[in-house]
Structure formats: structure tokens, C-alpha cells
Symmetry: C2
């Protein structure tokens, strides 16, 4: 399996595949791949003849005080994981290859301004722009995104519809550690105490899920219970906990499906996200 | 030649062509086609196996006080012109087909803020968004734009580069009436007196061109002479006259190629644009 650094080379490779009539799946990632990414790649391998994994820590989706510099990178480990999962190539460009004095951006109103968009105002513009570029470079039949970034999945689906990309977007379930922590490249930032504290995210979401299963319909009551559970953890600081409808991302007052219950919580200095979706 | 109203139908048609290995040219227009558009279509017909002409008065590129409502439309005349020029289909969607509660937009910094962008702040975002959509719907090999909208051509080329559209952008020369007036769908707004007055655009540009040919290198001197010529015409009111480099659209002090000398001038209530390019 080849590591490709240039846009031209990806294009040539994909065009040769398409000439043979092969289908192409794309798994866009920022690298430092874990079981969550692996599940996306395996699904893509199952559903397409060839799979491109992009591996690019995209600078334009990080705010000035965020962790772009420290974001973990390990292209050799990534290549091994991609190979074992059956990917065809990794596209691992330098930032200059992707942004050569670029002035153009893709952005979205409304659904990029809520949840993570409140505290990360440029994030989704960066995501939409880089994903548009990857779509145009690879021209895949299908692209795979994890539901852990539920808002991102929602935004990408909306972008594809609005800009008429001829690409099927496939959302894939959250992969968790045995103790419930959602897999994330950022988990590597956590020390032993923080790693334990981080369980408050999945634990509190389970409480919310159970309340809905038990018939609670008042969103405020559920959110309060979730926040109370997180509040017990001294290392945790809530960014947001919200319950929204999973299409428009508008706040719900009563439980109503499809719903997304999403949270961002700082564990020490590490900002973690987690969620559950009920369709 | 068929008039197609839906995105799905255009897609199906183009996919069938591509399966046969045919190349596809796209000519994006707002309809009310004239000899300028015809020259684009004929060039596209020469260079591609099939040609799609899009015919859509795009609401998102008009400001609130601009002429969206009054912009001239005549799909039957357009169909005749397209047929005679050798186009394969016209794509003539309703606004709802193109913008169904859309939230996504494509925009650009810097080069969309100068020239026409100064007085039309949302114009180029509307253009970039609709052209991105058309590119994704038609997926052409080449797309054709007139140099009369020189800034638009520059913006589209930059967008294609920045977002990695796999499409060749072809710029085509301005087509003029016998007396020099650049062909434009908006010329239909002019009454007899205004039609005569509108010649001050092309006439003043010729003066600027001749000064450069005669060795004048000071941009301010040339712009002053152009403005003086327009100033002689009582029905004319200058929006802008500028000389910029034809890549970055940055103001020039000394004549230096490639250059764009562009103007927007109101003749009565009608805003006309014209330019010359020296490469």
C-alpha cells in the first residue's frame, strides 16, 4: 500500500481505477488512526473496489488557541493500520500542497453555529473546505465519516446536498474502549487520572439514554441529570451538553426522534466530545 | 435539443455520455442569450463532444436593490440560439430545484472584495456557489466564461485551483456590437439616448489602450483620461474605473502585464461593465 504525497498522483491513480470501472471509497482522517478509523476503512473496503484514506492534519479547522501543533501524528503506524484494514492508498499531503495561497472557502449558516460551532467558530468552515477539496481530488463514489463527530457528519451531509456533490455519505457508529470511552486521537493527551475522569462523558450519556428509555420526555430534566453526573468529576469542565434534532440541529424541548444528544467536556486541558443518536 | 429542468435528469444524461467516453463542455449563463454567449457555446462545441448550456437567473448573486426581478428572460429564444450553436441540452432549473433550504455557500477572500465586489458585496459568493453546484451537477471536462466578466473569470479560475475542481476553465473574448458596445443582456434596459451614451465605456477604454500603446506607463494618468472621456457623457455615472494585475486583482501604479483595465458605469439606471485585458 502506497503513501501518496501529491494531488496529481492521487488523481492519476483514481482515474486509472475509474477507467477499469472500479468504485472508490474515501475515508477522510487527520491521522493517528485508531479502531474507530479502522472500522470506517473496513466498511469502505467492504463497499468499494478501492479505498483512499486521506491522512492530513488540516490547519484551517483549528482555531488560534487550539491544538494544531500538538495534534498527534504517526504516519508509519497509520500506514500499517490502513494496510491491515485493506486500504488501497494513503493520501498524506503537506499543508502547502493543499493550500497554495488559497483564498476560497466553503462555509455554512445555522447548523455550523451551534454545539461545537459556538466555541469553535472557524472549525466547520475549515472542515467543509478541506472535505470539498478531498471530494474534488478523489471523486469517490462514497465517503465515510464517524458518528462520534455527529455535527460534522450532519454538516457534511448538508454540504453534499446543497452543493450537489455526487457522493454518498456513510455515517459509521462510535467505537469505544472496553470501559466506554469513545476512541479519539486526542485520548493520547490524557494522563492516568484524566483517563479515569474521562469516563464521565460516556457514563452520563448512558444515564440520559436510560432516562429516555424509562419514558422521560423533558429535555431539560435529562440534560440536568447528565450535567449533574459530569459535575461529580472534579477534573471535568463542561463546554456544552445539548439535545437537538439530528437534521437541523435545533434545540429540543421534548424528546423527539431523530435526536442527537451531544457534549463537549474538558478533562484537564483536553477537550473531548461524545454523543448518542436516536433515529 | 432538449430543455432539462431537473438536476437528476442532467446527471443521468451526462453519465450516459461519459459511459460512451464522450467529453463534456459546460457554458454557465443567466439566459437571454446573445452573440457573446453564442461564441462561448460555439467554442465549447468545437472542443467537446457534448455541450450543456445552463440557463438560470441565479437569485443568490443579486443584492437586495439589484435587478433580479427585472433581469430579462426568454427561454424559447435561448433554446433556438443554443440549438443553432450546436449545444446538446439546456439546463433551465427553477430556483427551488437549485436551492432547497440550502445553507452552504462558497466564498473567497481578497479578489472578490475589489472592483465589482466593492459595490456588490454578496455577488461573487453567489457566483462561486452556483458555479460550484453546476460543476458538481454536470461534472464537465471544460467550462466556458466570457472575458466581459473579467473579475468573474479570475474568481472562477482561482476557485477551481483552490478547491481542486478537475475542470479546465476557458476564457473567451468580449463580443461587441458594430459600434463597440460590449454585448450584454442588460443592454436591453437602455433607451435610445442611453444606448448612444453607453458607447462612452468602449470609447474611453480605447483611449486607455492607445495611451499604453503610445508608451504611457503611469496608471493614474491613464485612469484620469478614461474618466474624463466618460465625464463628457451626461447620462453616465462612474461606479469605478481601475487598472489591476490580472491574477491578484491588485491595483497597479505602473503599467505592467498581465493587466486588467475594468470599469462599471451607470447609464441612467443601468449598470454596465466593460474592460480590456493585456496579457
Amino acid at each position: 500500500m502506497q503513501i501518496v504525497k501529491t494531488i496529481d498522483e492521487v488523481r492519476k491513480t483514481v482515474k486509472a481505477w475509474k477507467k477499469e470501472g472500479l468504485t472508490v471509497g474515501l475515508v477522510p482522517t487527520m491521522g493517528y488512526l485508531h479502531e474507530g478509523h479502522k472500522s470506517l476503512i473496513e466498511r469502505a473496503v467492504k463497499e468499494n473496489d478501492r479505498v483512499v484514506v486521506s491522512d492530513f492534519v488540516n490547519p484551517t479547522q483549528f482555531g488560534p488557541n487550539e491544538d494544531f501543533e500538538s495534534y498527534p501524528r504517526d504516519i508509519n503506524a497509520d500506514a500499517k493500520l490502513c494496510e491491515s484494514a485493506g486500504a488501497s492508498i494513503i493520501f498524506n499531503p503537506e499543508a502547502d500542497e493543499m493550500y497554495d495561497n488559497a483564498l476560497t472557502f466553503v462555509d455554512m449558516n445555522k447548523i455550523t453555529k451551534v454545539l461545537c460551532g459556538k466555541t469553535r467558530p472557524i472549525h466547520f468552515s475549515g472542515v467543509c473546505t478541506v472535505v470539498s477539496k478531498l471530494f474534488n481530488i478523489v471523486q469517490p463514489d462514497r465517503a465515510y465519516f464517524g458518528q462520534k463527530d455527529a455535527q460534522q457528519l450532519c454538516v457534511i451531509k448538508k454540504m453534499v446536498k446543497d452543493l450537489n456533490f455526487d457522493i454518498e455519505i456513510v455515517g459509521c457508529p462510535i467505537i469505544r474502549e472496553n470501559d466506554g470511552l469513545a476512541k479519539s486521537s486526542r485520548n493520547t493527551y490524557l494522563n492516568a487520572d484524566e483517563r479515569k475522569a474521562a469516563l464521565c462523558l460516556s457514563r452520563s450519556l448512558e444515564i440520559g439514554k436510560k432516562m429516555i428509555a424509562d419514558g422521560e420526555t423533558d429535555v431539560k430534566t435529562i440534560i440536568l441529570a447528565i450535567k449533574a453526573e459530569i459535575g461529580k468529576e472534579p477534573l471535568a469542565k463542561i463546554d456544552y451538553v445539548e439535545m437537538v434534532d439530528f437534521n437541523q440541529l435545533e434545540t429540543l424541548e421534548k424528546v423527539q426522534k431523530p435526536l442527537l444528544c451531544a457534549m463537549a467536556v474538558y478533562i484537564g486541558k483536553t477537550r473531548l466530545i461524545d454523543n448518542f443518536i436516536m433515529e
